[in-house]
Structures are given as C-alpha cells and as structure tokens.
Amino acid sequence: MITFEHVSKSYGKSLILDDLNFTVSDGQFAVLIGPSGCGKTTTLKTINRLIEPDSGTISIDGKNIHDTDKVELRRHIGYVIQQIGLFPNMTVAANICVVPKLLKYGKAECENIVSKMLQMVDMEKYADKYPNELSGGQQQRIGVLRALAASPPIVLMDEPFGALDPMTRETLQNEVKHIQQQLNKTIIFVTHDMSEALKLADVIIFMEGGKIVQAASPEEMLEHPATDLVRSFLGKHADHGAPTNVEDYMRKNVYCVQMSRGIRECAEMMARNSVDTLLVTDEGNHYIGTISIGDMRHWGKQLKSIEPLVRQSARTAHVGDNAKESFDFLLESGDDYIVVLNSDSTIAGIITKTSVARSVAQNLWG
C-alpha cells in the first residue's frame, strides 16, 4: 500500500505538488492523468525518490520511504520510462538482469529469471540480441521485463507506451494489464491518454496544477466527472454514453404490411426479407399489430385476408421513452423485439437484443 500524506513540492516559486493525499492499495492499477505540467510525473518520481518532496510523507506499507536507503528502495520498485532507456551496451538478457545483479542474485537465478521473463512475452530467442536490433515495441517489452525482473511488488510506469504506434501500444497495454493481474502487482502508471487510463486503471487519479481533482474508478469518473476539465479529458468516452432513448438504439428498416393484404403476399415478403414476423398497419400507416409465420402456416389455408391472424401481443414503446425499460423487458421476457411508435402511432422502428448489445458496447468504449 502506498500512502501520500500532505505531500508538497515546489521549484522556486512554482508549486508543483500541492498537498497531495491519496492511497493506492496492493494489487491496484492506479493511473495518474492530467494536462502536461500537472505534476503527474513528479508525483511518480517521488515514490522511488528520484524527486524528494519538500514536505509531507510518502509511505509504503506504513514505512516512511524517507527513512529507507534511496538505492535500496529503487531496487525494490520497478521503473519503466517513456524513452525506454535500455542500456545499448548490454544484451537483452543483461538488461533484464540489471536489478537482480545489483541485488547480488546468483548467475543461475539470473538466467532463470531471463528465460522466465522472455517466455512471458514470447521473446525467448532474443536473449542475446542488443537493444538496437529490436523494434520499438520489443524494446519497451524488455523495458517492462527489466522493471519486473526482481519481482518488485510495485512498478512505476512513466508514459511507457507514449512513443509507440497505436497497434503496438494496444498489444503492450493488454500484456501489461495481463501481467499485472497475473502477478498481482501494484502499478502506478502515468499517461495523458484517457482511453489508456480507462482501459487499464482500477483507479484513475486526475491531477491539475499539482492537486488531485478527482480519484475514482473509470466507471465512476465517466458517470460523474468532477470538473469540466475532467469531462473534456473524458471527451468522447463520457458524452457518447449519454443517449438513453429508445430511438437511439432502434432498428429503422422494418417490414410492414397493410391489414388488407393477402396471406400469399405476406408470405412472399417474409421469404424475400428472411424475417418471421411483419408489422401490420392500417391505411393511414398506424400500427395495429403483428403477424407471424407460425400463425400463417397454421391458419393461412382457410383465410384470404390476414386480418384474423393479427396479434396485438407485442410490447410497444414510444419515441422519447427511456431505452433501459425496454432493454430490461427484452432481457427478462425473452421476447425478440419491441415495437417503437411515433406519437401519432405510426411505426418508428423496433428494438431487438442487438440494440441492447450496441448500447452496452457504446457505454463501455464510446
């Protein structure tokens, strides 16, 4: 557990960290985010004492880090930087083993660590390569492994994927999240990319001007952004969660038939469009009910018009209704659709389970 209590730091007259108070529990993935100059990187660097705060205490598991030896402290905290910083004069294996060697692990143990680590990211055959023989993504993978090699409980990451292309970044994000959960690491991660934060974080700590504006889970932050700045950072992620009405999710290309039409025509229309139900309207296009293939097969031979077969059992909703009720009904009743009507009871569209899926996806990923 990492605890910040009244931590402040200033350079000359400008206050970089302004009375920070927060806690990150064990196994948590905490993301520090905010505009540039908000103090997120400074905060990160105070944890491994690359920067010393002017006042306040930072403790790890209740122990004030100011009382521990700097060098010893850093050997037990993983550190990944944006510029990667693999030592170009060392092989991949040697880079991974930097910290274990500083901790005086035996040679066999180091070799063991190297193979175990490389296996984790499928790079076993790269042990004897030099950093300049790897791609950027591969280099940062090794950068992450170097931080993990001596199994530190805490890993600090300072915009580790900022310089990578989007594809590589996404793969590495997945890998890091996976590793974090698998090895149960506490990770403090600095980024300015909100999608990255939303994707990785258990808790997002939003900073501005050296202060914490909001510390919350991604879900809570999306729902209740504390300030306009947080909202604007959330950008598309927050606002697109907003549509809540049935018309935002309904399907508009539905197949209607007038009540006066014959059975044969309806059957053909169903076959042509591969549907098992048609919506039935009167001459003024007002909704009357539905007709299904099952009823037609059963009774159709004796009838000419579809009128007796029209059922009014389908649930209806109106444009402007909250979609949630309809979704709940669909999921609970097992019905396949809900008919959405305009205020003049003409047909606007239908809501299906696909609409539910779309809404869930939109709320999650924007």
Binding site: R75, T91, R146
Partner: protein, 213 residues
C-alpha cells in the same frame, strides 16, 4: 641502402625501441590520468567550464617549451621525457572522456538510477561503456601525437628517433632525417591501426552504428 643499414641498423633499431617505450609508457600514464581527470571533471560540470578552457590554453604551449622547463626541474633523465609526454597524452583522453560522459543521454542515466544503481555503478555500468567510442578516439589521437612528440626527447639528448632527425638537420644529412622521420611515421600509423583493432574487438555489438534491425 645496405651500407646505410650496416652503419645505422643497430642504432635505428635501438632508437625505435626507445621511442616505442617512451610512447607506450607515456600514453599509458596519460590515458589513466586523462580517464580519471575526465571522470572527475564530468562530476563537476560547473567547475569544468573554467578548467577546460585553461587546459586548452596549456595545450597550446609548445612541447618544446614545456620539455625545456621541465628539464630545468627534473634534469636529464628519461623521467623528464615521460612526464612531459604523459601530460600531453593526457589532454585528448581527458577531453574525450569528459565530453563522452556528458554526452550520455539522460534516459540511460535516468534508467540506471531508477533501477537502483549507485553513482559509481552508473559510471561503471553505463556512462563509461557508452562513452567508450569517444574515449578510444581520444586515446588514438593521444597515441599518434605522442609518437611525434617523442621526437623531442632527442632535444635533451635522451635518444629515440629524434636523434636521427636532429643529427640530420644539424649536419644537413637528408638520409639521417629520413631515417628518423620514416620509422616515426610508420610507428604512428601502426599505433593508430592497433588502437582501431582494439576498438573493433572491445566495442559491444550494441554500440556499433552499423547494427541493423
């Protein structure tokens, strides 16, 4: 030709030997001194802004003058030559070590610190290896210069290939001048080649520029 070698052969071999010993010892001393002072200077970059220009000024003092002054103090011993040559050999190494270490990108020293290296470990594991190309370039320069500066040893009567050149110039004997100059030139080229070889062998693959992805 034969006659020349019959007359001077032994003397020439001896002179080359003495010359090489001067060069070897002074470059070795100069290298160690240069490396240490370069490292020390890189630790105090503020002070080095004053020291480096002073060093440059000192370097412009002709070797002839310096060796003369030193002669007054230490007398006519090989030590005089070795001290003078070592001091001159030291400068290029010192300068290149200093600029090499300062030129190490911050991301490497940051990473080293973040991994929990002490300052000394950072120096040994990261800063020195990364400035190796620069340091060796300094060594090369210093070794080649020293070969020519060692000619000055003859000025205070302490042998080396300079003997031939001085005798040649004072007696207007071109053969003698060439007998001193040509081996000195060959020696310089050879020393450079040896250092290039060392560089090739010693440089880790990761630091070679031509490494491909």
């Amino acid at each position: 030709m034969k006659a020349i070698f019959a007359t001077y052969g032994l003397m020439l071999l001896r002179a080359i030997g003495v010359h090489s010993v001067y060069v070897f010892i002074s470059v070795a001393c100069g290298f160690v001194l240069g490396l240490i002072s370069g490292i020390l200077l890189s630790r105090i970059p503020k002070l080095s802004f004053i020291i480096m220009p002073l060093v440059s000024i000192f370097q412009t003092i002709p070797g002839l003058v310096f060796i003369g002054i030193l002669f007054l103090i230490t007398g006519m011993t090989p030590l005089t030559v070795i001290i003078a040559l070592s001091v001159y050999a030291m400068f290029p190494v010192m300068k290149n070590t200093y600029t090499g270490i300062l030129g190490v990108e911050k991301k490497y020293t940051d990473a080293a610190k973040g991994c929990g290296m002490t300052d000394f470990q950072t120096l040994i594991n990261v800063e020195l290896p990364l400035s190796l190309p620069s340091i060796i370039a300094g060594l090369r320069m210093s070794a080649i210069y020293t070969v020519s500066w060692a000619v000055l040893a003859a000025m205070i009567g302490l042998g080396g290939l300079g003997d031939f050149i001085y005798q040649g110039t004072s007696s207007n004997n071109n053969t003698l001048i060439l007998l001193g100059a040509i081996p000195a030139a060959i020696l310089a080229v050879a020393v450079g080649a040896v250092i290039d070889l060392i560089q090739k062998k010693a440089m880790p693959r990761g630091l070679k520029k031509e490494a491909v992805k």
